[in-house]
Amino acid sequence: MSHVYYFTIVGTNDVPLYEAEFGMQIKDTSLSAKEETRYLNQFIAHAALDIIDEAVWNTTDLYLKTLDKYNELNVSCYVTPSNTRFILLHENKADDNIKTFLAECHEFYIKILCNPFYTVNTPIVSPTFEQRVKSLARRFLL
């Protein structure tokens, strides 16, 4: 069975740096419905930011587990020490795969930071990063 995922990276000034959806094509009923879920996902992720801000003080782990729930969507989060937030919306229960996915994304994010042409807190447009995240998603999520 397949699930729907929405993944976003939020910079330190609460601006999204990167967005991706996985497994969406299954629910491809109509275009407008797809657009609608997209906005809704962004809304849910955005709403989670406040909860994340509080939750980071309760643990030394970078992975904060599932913090919020909206209808059938779980919100899991991973926060880097520099307060960049990786948020994943998913329907199934959070498991080790999700944790690994987020941790690996962190690795790739560090590589992005190492690129002299990337400025912190700007949108990530690198095609390599896109590819890597997609293949991670295939490995761990879909």
Partner: protein
Amino acid sequence: MAKQYKTLGEDIWKNRVETINAELFIFTYGSIVAQLVKDFEDYEQVNKQLEKMGYNIGVRLIEDFLSRSGWGRCTDFKETMEVISKIGFKMFLNIAPTVTNWSTDSKVCSLILDENPLNDFVELPLDTQHKLWYSNILCGVLRGALEMVQMQIEANFISCVLQGDDISEIRVQFIRHLQEELPNADD
């Protein structure tokens, strides 16, 4: 002969070179290039500036090279290129580019950089396609260093893995031997 250069290069790298943290080096160079791109907003200009900076490094670096390697004069351009690759590049960057594609008159050849530490982590902005030669500083270093040993050359990148090419290649062209200056006639 070529084997002898290689052994010497490796020996120098192991015993006579102080090393620094690679990331520090890579980030230093990276931030220089990124800043130049920001300041000039023109990749041609950035290439030029990098080449100039390289030249200024090269004219000093050659002295360090000569002292560390104890190498004297080379007999011809072919030997020079081998020494640069096997000893020079090895000593300063721990790589040994392949010298190949010699022209029939032995005046033009290519340095193929199988690896290039400067490139680590780097992803070029999408609009640079074949305009920005990220490691262009190397061309300047070659020109500066060789000028100090009385060889005028020109070096240019013609392909680079960062631009999506299969290999990184610097084309080096020998132009002429510089004449030693003579004392003024009034002596």
